[in-house]
Amino acid sequence: MELIESPLQDLKKEVSTGTTIIAVQYQDGVIIGADSRTSSGSYAVNRVTDKLTPVHDYIYCLRSGSAADTQIIASYVSYYLNMFSIEEGCLPTVKKAAHMFREFCYQNKQYLLASIIVAGWDEENGGCVYNVPLGGSIIKQPFAIGGSGSSYLYGYCDIHFKENMTEEEAISFVSKGITEAIARDGSSGGICRIATINKDGVKRRTIYGNELQKFWEK
């Protein structure tokens, strides 16, 4: 088996977001971050992908796994959340969004390859992060990491995470994590997209490749 496959074979593979995604609770809400590479085998199909997908005003989801599957699921959840919030006359909770994602992912687990992190802000609970990995389980966590690049971040997160960080600390936590994963994981790359979600809404920012911090490098 050749180590480097012919590029034509890559293009026939399913497009996946071989990825790094992070979401973390901080004192006023959540900070979410992702890299920007969508790959098909070893060819980067889109090097500026936006994996931070809004499903409602204050609720975002971070997508990893098959690009097609996650886009469609996010589309469905966004539709149903909108319907429910109009019927109920109030903003949906992050818990409702996360459970909806779980329902799709679990009931169709044979057909889907989707690992999603749902994060947002709501009135009752403040910032919340829910992890909905491949099988369709759901777990509420103070921070969540996902995607192929997350393997390199477990140690980093365990050591550096603190409860109730300030916005700057949390952004630094997320951006450094993404930077490290991009450096070590071949399927992650491009730029670092970050969003802050709190009672004031969503604030997005982008950290370009040359602005990313350089860690231990020869």
């Binding site: 399913e14 199909v45 097609a68 469609i72 057909y111």
Partner: protein, 273 residues
């Protein structure tokens, strides 16, 4: 009655034919292709090569890969030729009906959603990789759609077997402030790069420039690659006597005619009345 979709009734028979009876499956016509799209200041430019291959053979040296979805929304397709043509055809019809029932001109985003939902249902078995571009009342848009149903919105896109060659040209030459002529030239260069460097792409270059309420289709804008130097003149002329006659048999042409009774008298009677 079958409602639609695929019919797998003959699947087992086909498998047996292939395995036991050494049946050779006919090759699908694939557009091993280079297709490109670029957004410029006033609109979108789509480009494609014109070679359709059936295995190693060029089935059609001058096919059209840029399909009309609506007047100002066009789509270039790579993959299986039947899939791209029929998918774009179907969505074009749906979009037309939708635009008539809503009373609004169609949006590129609508075509995108229709295409992606359709392709997702077939789990990638419909091999259609598309570059969808157009200008609607919200402005110019360019999207890429993969066979599994995932989409991306980008300022420049290349797809097909020649996409790597084309992307190299696009990455070098693209800038966000391009005008129409620069964009046309960039797309032309990108397709040419695909034609020259990819074995599955070839033929001529087709270009489609879409701006607000205007569409220009440049069919075969560049034919330098399909001008064959040594070509026998058509029609083939053979000297008389070049084919050896082995046997001669002459048959008399016999005419069998039956004379049917003509009812002339009846007709005369009717006229009198």
């Amino acid at each position: 009655m079958q409602k639609g979709g695929f019919n797998f009734d003959l699947y087992q028979r086909n498998v047996e034919l292939i395995e036991k009876n050494n049946y050779k499956v006919p090759k699908t016509t694939k557009t091993g292709t280079t297709i490109v799209g670029v957004v410029f200041s006033d609109g979108v430019v789509l480009g494609a090569d014109t070679r359709a291959t059936s295995g190693p053979i060029v089935a059609d040296p001058n096919c059209e890969k840029i399909h009309r979805i609506s007047d100002y929304i066009w789509c270039a397709g790579a993959g299986t030729a039947a899939d791209t043509e029929n998918t774009t055809g179907m969505i074009s019809l749906q979009l037309e009906l939708l635009s008539l029932s809503t009373g609004r001109s169609p949006r590129v985003r609508t075509a995108l959603t229709l295409l992606k939902n359709f392709l997702f249902r077939y789990h990638g078995y419909i091999s259609a990789a598309l570059v969808l571009g157009g200008v609607d009342f919200t402005g110019p848009h360019l999207h890429m759609i993969h066979p599994h149903g995932s989409t991306s919105t980008l300022p420049y896109i290349s797809m097909g077997s020649g996409s790597l060659a084309a992307m190299a040209v696009l990455e070098t030459g693209y800038n966000s402030k391009m005008g129409e002529e620069d964009a046309k030239s960039l797309v032309h260069q990108a397709i040419l790069s695909g034609i020259l460097n990819d074995l599955g792409s070839g033929g001529n270059v087709d270009l489609c420039v879409i701006k607000h309420k205007s569409m220009e289709f440049f069919r075969n804008i560049d034919t330098t690659n399909s001008k064959r130097k040594f070509r026998k003149k058509l029609p083939y002329m053979f000297k008389s006597g070049s084919t050896k006659i082995l046997e001669k048999e002459i048959k008399e042409k016999m005419e069998k005619m039956e004379i049917v009774n003509e009812k002339e008298n009846e007709i005369e009677e009717l006229e009198e009345l």
